[in-house]
């Protein structure tokens, strides 16, 4: 998501599930799509009926590989080399969509002469801080403050020329040496993919955790995004960069800011440096001097003010900065790894876990489980008794030694309550309660509402700084007292998320009355006259009645362009635009680049756009298409990322080979937890742990397994944790199919059944043979189907921008279990 935001302006799947059927080439990399998103297979199958080609790159031949038309082996952690090579192929052979690149990306922009790159490092690097001075990568500005450009793309410091220089180091032989990909297949893939640079051909890119869960995860996505921009595939039907989210509602959860660095709607959460609302707005509101840049984030003040009004109502006004002082200011690293390191050091007292099972799902399970023991209290809210909730009596531990007070609150499942679920395609679909909750289980909404009531009660008689709690504007229809029989009204919540007017107001010549729902975020104000719990969802519930709930619509008619938009089935953000960046799908006159699958088109006589909701109503060429970027262009060169404006290959923290590209072995900008807190963070030596290890999922189980390992029919299908390893490795280790084995890393070891298979083949890396094995990570010590957790193997190390743990590439060894 950080990467997509850096490149395009928004962190979300650019297209949507059904749109996959429109593609000519689907690249599945860093994803096992048919395994983990089976419903997507339906749409891919439809694309294939039209002659589309599905390409799959994976260290292992998976169920997706079986479904695909071309499969290529790719060593875990080498996506950047692989795709940088594809970019190089496109650039060298001039297989790019020239007009698109020139007009819609920052290819022509000129970069400061302070920018350079050498031996794996960009200019501005501070090796002690392990960070870059990004001002060295700034644009050259003209007199009016607008970035200088060379429309001929020849200037040596223009992004295009810098790109050519940067990517020409990724020739085919180098790529195959690093990735272990077979040369003939790799070249076939380069050729097939580059063919979609033609305006009437389009490719879609599907990725998931195989891409993100690396120390260079953000840059992995950047390389995909750059390639897709060169192809001119962003904003088109059947195109895009499609992040396949890992949970049915994780898109909804990130939209609502269940991320440590955000507020709802992907607004930044304030830091200690933001002493006032003005400071905060100065830090976060991008400016532009270019009249053709819509710079939609320029509306920051309206969105944050409306959010604060939603939280604090009448208490928030211009005199008190709209209660900005009440919002917690970040002063540290609150990412998952950091929280657990802090917990391990005994510095976190309590932990709330809503539908989360870190004892199984978090990296470095041994350290994280030990960390939990230091808590004073834990509240686990879940539909099953998770492994985490019983960490205190897990195998090998004496409950008498653990002081943590643990509460398990019974949550009900999504079919036992009403509300919305937002899928990867940004579609928020309203759902109804099908059955009464089982036993005493109850909705998360009720639980949170009750928590608020209790906490408010406690704070009304003391506590440190009670104001932010006591002044919350909070009434969702469940009464003053906690009452198990009074469910808060989810419609009141949804309507507040959409937002409403707090006073009579005229906006854009329209009269609105106090209490009236805001029709869309174009009407939100920065003067306190509107509230909105999430500006992105403004338009989801634009009227007072249930019939006005756009998320509940179920009309099956497609739009006039018949590309599967289904505009009146549910609702998506923003403002029901199904394919974002769609202004890039037309030329400067508003004519579709791909008329067969047109997304929007300009109707000259009616003077309006047809098809999908356009990315802004302005007529053609009045605004640049990437409206969320301050300069309106998609960023081939992204100067705001921590590890560089261009993707560069580095090895994972634990790697069996040296980096063939430079002397920088690992990502120079990652936080080295093993140096900060060595305990429990040992790094494996390739001499002792020569095998690449990875973790992944199966269709039959779900995440940390609480929901599926307790279902007998699913436990029947996959009853035990297993490791997949190749024939050659198995022979070397004298392991037969079905044997029990021990897999070990520097951090821990686990037992599993061995599944010996041809689907893992050794990699030849510059002559050296390296093996890879993989373990499914769904298992834990609790539940009907039990087994060791793969995450005892993985390290506490994360991406340079997002801190997402490197679950996907580490070093291990495997031996037959001694009985």
């Amino acid at each position: 998501m950080a990467s997509l935001a850096a490149t395009f302006g928004r962190g979300a799947m650019t297209n949507h599930w059904i749109d996959l059927m429109n593609t000519d080439v689907a690249m599945v990399m860093g994803s096992n799509v048919v395994e983990n998103h089976p419903m997507a297979s339906k749409w891919l199958a439809k694309a294939r009926e039209r002659g589309a080609v599905i390409i799959n790159c994976d260290p292992r031949y998976t169920r997706t590989s079986s479904f695909s038309d071309i499969y290529c082996k790719l060593r875990s952690g080498t996506d950047i080399a692989f795709v940088n090579g594809m970019i190089n192929y496109a650039l060298q052979n001039e297989l790019i969509n020239k007009d698109y690149v020139l007009n819609y990306t920052n290819a022509s922009f000129i970069i400061s002469d302070k920018y350079s790159f050498d031996d794996g490092l960009f200019s501005g690097y501070d090796p002690d801080k392990r960070s870059y001075d990004k001002t060295k990568w700034a644009y050259e500005l003209d007199g009016s403050g607008i970035p200088k450009k060379d429309p001929d793309l020849l200037h040596p410091q223009c992004v295009y020329q810098l790109m050519k220089k940067h990517f020409e180091r990724y020739d085919v032989d180098t790529v195959c040496k690093i990735t272990g990909a077979p040369k003939d297949v790799y070249e076939k893939i380069c050729k097939t993919f580059a063919s979609t640079s033609a305006p009437d051909k389009v490719a879609t890119w599907l990725y998931a955790m195989g891409t993100t869960q690396h120390t260079h995860g953000t840059q992995n996505i950047r390389t995909y995004a750059i390639l897709q921009l060169l192809m001119g595939n962003i904003g088109l039907a059947g195109g895009g960069i499609n992040a396949l989210r890992g949970e049915s509602n994780v898109q909804g959860s990130t939209d609502m800011a269940l991320l440590f660095h955000l507020l709802p709607g992907y607004l930044a959460s304030p830091t200690k440096a933001d002493q006032s609302l003005e400071d905060y707005l100065k830090t976060n509101t991008p400016q532009t001097k270019d009249p053709k840049s819509a710079n939609w984030w320029g509306n920051y003040p309206k969105y944050i003010t409306s959010l604060l009004k939603a939280w604090y109502g009448d208490k928030a006004n211009t005199e008190n900065d709209f209660c900005f002082d009440y919002v917690p200011k970040r002063s540290g690293d609150y990412s998952h790894i950091s929280l657990f390191e802090t917990m391990f050091a005994g510095q976190l007292k309590g932990l709330f876990l809503f539908g989360q099972n870190p004892a199984v799902g978090g990296p470095n399970s041994n350290k994280e489980r030990s960390a939990l023991e230091k808590l004073e209290w834990m509240v686990a809210v879940d539909i099953f008794e998770t492994d985490t909730s019983v960490f205190w009596k897990r195998p090998g531990v004496n409950p008498a030694d653990i002081q943590t007070e643990v509460f398990l609150l019974p949550a009900c499942s999504s079919v036992e309550k009403e509300g919305s679920v937002a899928n990867s395609g940004r579609w928020a679909q309203w759902r109804y309660k099908a059955v009464e909750p089982v036993g005493q289980s109850i909705s998360d909404l009720w639980i949170l509402d009750a928590l608020h009531k209790s906490i408010k009660k406690e704070y009304s008689s003391g506590g440190v700084f009670p104001d932010p709690i006591l002044n919350l504007s909070w009434d969702y229809g469940s009464g003053e007292e906690i009452d198990l029989h009074k469910e808060p009204d989810v419609h009141i919540v949804a309507k507040e998320i959409n937002g409403y007017f707090l006073e009579d107001k005229v906006v854009n010549d329209k009269q609105f009355k106090k209490g009236q729902q805001v029709p869309s975020f174009a009407f939100l104000q920065n003067d306190g006259s509107t509230c909105s719990g999430n500006w992105l969802y403004c338009n989801s519930y634009p009227g007072p009645e249930k019939e006005n709930n756009n998320m509940a619509r179920r009309k099956k008619a497609d739009a006039i362009n018949n590309i599967g938009l289904y505009p009146e089935w549910a609702w998506c953000w923003p403002v029901n635009r199904r394919i974002i960046y769609n202004r890039a799908s037309v030329d400067l006159k508003g004519n579709p680049l791909d008329p067969r699958r047109w997304v929007i088109r300009w109707n000259e006589s009616a003077k309006k756009w047809e098809g999908d909701v356009p990315d802004g109503p302005w007529p053609p060429n009045e605004k640049h298409p990437f409206i969320m970027k301050p300069d309106g262009h998609a960023w081939l060169f992204a100067a705001n990322l921590n590890d560089g404006p261009f993707p560069e290959h580095y090895e994972p923290l634990e790697s069996p080979v040296n980096n063939f590209m430079s002397s920088q072995e690992i990502n120079p900008a990652i936080k080295l937890w093993h140096k900060i807190n060595p305990e429990g963070n040992a790094v494996g030596d390739p001499a002792k742990f020569p095998i690449i290890g990875t973790t992944y999922r199966v269709s039959e189980h779900w995440q940390a397994g609480a929901m599926t390992r307790n279902i007998p029919w699913l436990a029947e299908l996959v009853p035990n944790v297993f490791v997949e390893l190749g024939l050659e490795l198995a022979k070397e280790k004298e392991i037969n199919n079905g044997d029990k084995v021990v897999i070990e890393t520097a951090r821990g070891s686990m037992n599993a059944y061995a599944l010996v298979t041809r689907r893992f083949q050794p990699f030849k890396l510059n002559g050296k043979t390296v093996h890879e094995l993989g373990v499914i990570w769904h298992f834990g010590y609790n539940g009907l189907a039990k087994g060791d957790s793969a995450n005892v193997l993985t390290p506490h190390i994360g991406d340079a921008n997002t801190m997402i743990p490197e679950y996907k590439a580490f070093l291990c060894d495997v031996v037959k279990e001694v009985i």
């Binding site: 297979s41 009926e49 079986s66 038309d69 299908l717 298979t757 689907r759």
Partner: protein, 272 residues
């Protein structure tokens, strides 16, 4: 109603086992206790069809002509158009193995079934499994009860990729032929299985993207044993009473013995 069928367009199968679970859910079948996987080369569970498992996915991992293949197929009752199991069923006056004229669905009527095992004996695919405790035959019932109510079988409904498609057999055969065209056009070597097998074919129509040698446990030329007619004669004697009586008594005791043998065979299979 018209004779129904299910298309199994196996290129689209992702071996997710939604069909397996949907079948259990609809038929209220329990999960079996399993360990690891039942066969090499994939994630198959359980090992065989049983009174608790009416359908399962088989995985075949192989290297052929320098290429790696991982092919999946559904293993379940083929719902033959002219079912041998129905012919074989000795129960009188109404057969336990029931054929529904309207849809062609074949299912076991548990109230009538005596668990003799003749259906399994004569099934060219050896599908029915005798529940030795309940003394009943068990197999896929084509969701005959769903069909009666205008719904499609649970497996077809659950399949996320439209690999399994339910419809009229004629329409399904057309779709199968179209699928063959589609697969041939992209260089695959498709085969339809179930159109003409056993003469009149089956109601589960496979489109296999590669020939039968890639699916080694699918019988190439399934046949119904010719003595199925003799069995019938034995159990349903001709008008001649003289030979008839003797044969009938012989036949009944033969059946009773067969039942005992089948039950013992099943028991030893389970324990062995």
């Amino acid at each position: 109603m018209v004779e129904k069928a299910i298309l199994l367009d196996m290129e689209k199968c992702i071996a997710c086992r939604a069909c397996q679970v949907a079948c259990k859910q609809w038929n209220e079948l329990p999960a079996e206790e399993t360990t690891f996987f039942a066969a090499a080369g994939g994630y198959q569970n359980p090992a065989e069809l049983s009174p608790s498992t009416f359908t399962l996915i088989k995985f075949n991992e192989m290297e052929k002509e320098g290429k790696l293949w991982w092919l999946f197929r559904v293993h379940s009752c083929m719902q033959c158009v002219d079912p041998a199991c129905v012919k074989a069923c000795p129960v009188e006056p109404v057969k336990a193995m029931t054929y529904v004229k309207e849809t062609g669905a074949t299912y076991v009527n548990r109230e009538l079934c005596i668990g003799c095992g003749s259906c399994r004996e004569y099934c060219p695919f050896t599908i029915p499994v005798i529940d030795t405790e309940a003394e009943k035959s068990t197999k896929c019932n084509f969701c005959f009860d769903r069909l009666e109510n205008g719904m499609e079988p649970a497996c077809a409904k659950a399949c996320p990729t439209d690999c399994l498609v339910f419809g009229d057999r004629e329409q399904i055969l057309e779709m199968a032929h179209k699928a063959v065209e589609r697969l041939s056009a992209k260089g695959r070597h498709p085969v339809i299985y179930g159109e003409k097998e056993l003469g009149s074919g089956t109601k589960k129509i496979y489109v296999l993207p590669e020939p039968l040698e890639y699916y080694p446990d699918l019988p190439k030329n399934p046949k119904v044993s010719e003595d199925i007619g003799l069995l019938h004669e034995l159990l349903n004697p001709p008008s001649s009473i003289l030979t008839g009586l003797g044969l009938v008594f012989g036949g009944v005791s033969w059946v009773a013995n067969r039942k005992k043998i089948i039950i013992e065979e099943s028991k030893s299979e389970k324990e062995g």
